[in-house]
Symmetry: C2
Subunit: 346 residues, 2 copies
Amino acid sequence: MRATYIYGAGDVRVITAPDPKLIESTDAVVRITRACVCGSDLHPFHSMPADADARPIGHEFIGVVEELGKDVATLKVGDFVIAPFAYSDGTCEFCLEGLQTSCIHGGYWGNGGITGGQAEAVRVPFADGTLVKVPGTVDESQYAGLLTLSDVYATGWHAAYKARIAPGQTVTVIGDGAVGLLAVLSAKQMGAERIILMGRHKARTDLGIHFGATDVVAERGEEGIALVRELTGGSGSHAVLEAVGFMPAYEQALGVVRAGGVISRVGVPQYENAPVGRGSLFGKNVGLVGGVAPARAYIEQLLPAVLDGTVNPGLVFDQTVKLEQTPDGYTAMDERTALKVMVDPT
Amino acid sequence: MRATYIYGAGDVRVITAPDPKLIESTDAVVRITRACVCGSDLHPFHSMPADADARPIGHEFIGVVEELGKDVATLKVGDFVIAPFAYSDGTCEFCLEGLQTSCIHGGYWGNGGITGGQAEAVRVPFADGTLVKVPGTVDESQYAGLLTLSDVYATGWHAAYKARIAPGQTVTVIGDGAVGLLAVLSAKQMGAERIILMGRHKARTDLGIHFGATDVVAERGEEGIALVRELTGGSGSHAVLEAVGFMPAYEQALGVVRAGGVISRVGVPQYENAPVGRGSLFGKNVGLVGGVAPARAYIEQLLPAVLDGTVNPGLVFDQTVKLEQTPDGYTAMDERTALKVMVDPT
């Protein structure tokens, strides 16, 4: 089959790789219908050392079950499925608690002998635990929405869910990438009254307004903080959803959060140490929550409104490439000429 | 009147100070029945520069209303009252949300012209907002329990409350000071099934067992972490209540917390930066909550069980000194010959 591998910073190639095969009796092989490029794929695209081993890449995909191990109980060949960005056994104590990203036997696509999602097909471990079957017949117009459940919508939802957003609250979302925009949508669904989106790419923040943002603050740093505080009567935001991962975004979150409020992070932190003492979190009783989103925990819950068109998270896709053009998709996202690129391997 | 002032590290004196008087129409003057020395009083006792201005000290007290400003509506002269360790107006948006430590007009005893609690009397700003009247007749045997509501019990409760401890959970408490021990009691009241107390002073951990600890781990650092993980089947603790405030306690919390769990801090952090990235909080979806406890928010709720003897948080007091001996109380707590010292200014 054809599959995308990363060889080093700036070096993504579509190569011929072995066809995926069943290994464990709990495996499935899934023929991929659509995949996509993630903001987090840009981290190795920026920084992977040239002497590191090439590895398969891509962790978001939807597709059709092609083969099933004999112990897979809940799926049939031909089922249309959504894969979350981590696989998980579905039975360990963490999976049962809805924290599938901490599954004792779980892992991530493209690691440990599991191939990636930007490919024609993939072997899926623990198919019963990992995959979510989409009921009924799936129309091509639904692909974009379904694909967001693999990661970006589920991750935006995780940010809002962990912040325990309550109706009437003021929420500030930092970051106008796909996750930030879908955190806006999630906050709106949870009843946030005011949603301030901090971002400076107009096409993106316009989409954020479509998803429910009531205010846009393009300024950053102290200037942005001052504007958000002004919008919130000086007190700051009950919840801050941080969908970037760089230290300035964390500092911005500290600046705009209300005493007693919460900062919920889903942008993978590109730092390890950060201010959390009396002058930042402790003195104001600000909570710090979030983490790697257990997308699997949310897919069934979010699926109906995507299928019936109540919400349209698929609007975050603004470009589609064929599998062979996947490297162009990386470049487009890196240069911000695309918000989010869909990959069509069919 | 006689009042305790701190002049520098190791230098606490009881001096003659002006009698407190009503200044604002919302003030009360309270004649102090009992006060006490707090673990946090030891911070300036260790580190206050000799050239700093002497200041009144003590922030925990119970007493009797002696004078009232004309705009105080809810209290009468002669009422027996509990003062939380911060005063607050009771009417601002933060007070109404139960975060009185962020009161817009509030502050702390011993600062900004307000005298301290280790004294014969004190002027109380915003008496309606700040003070909680104890119903009925108060017996001297109840003083210890009531006095813990001023800070240590309310602070232990805050740790457990912010961690949202649910019945059946495993909770680890770090620190066997008065706050840690009362965090054990609070976790027990909230239904924690297993409560692991990390502390190494046997008299204190024995009291922790009395309050509900099911296990005691005296070891610290990596060894202590390994023991707690063993006690929790390798997975760690749902909630960690950190009642120390030094970095090793934070690191211990990171080591024993379960994926998806929460670290709730009430020990005032003696650091500003700490690990919060992918390798510590983010990767495991661990939340970091807590802060300066709004004791005022909890006093009414905790009072009935203290009055009727259902709980006996006053057991944390193991020494009483007259006001003139307050400096000895500091020394006893500093040298750990006392767990918590009550001050009797009557």
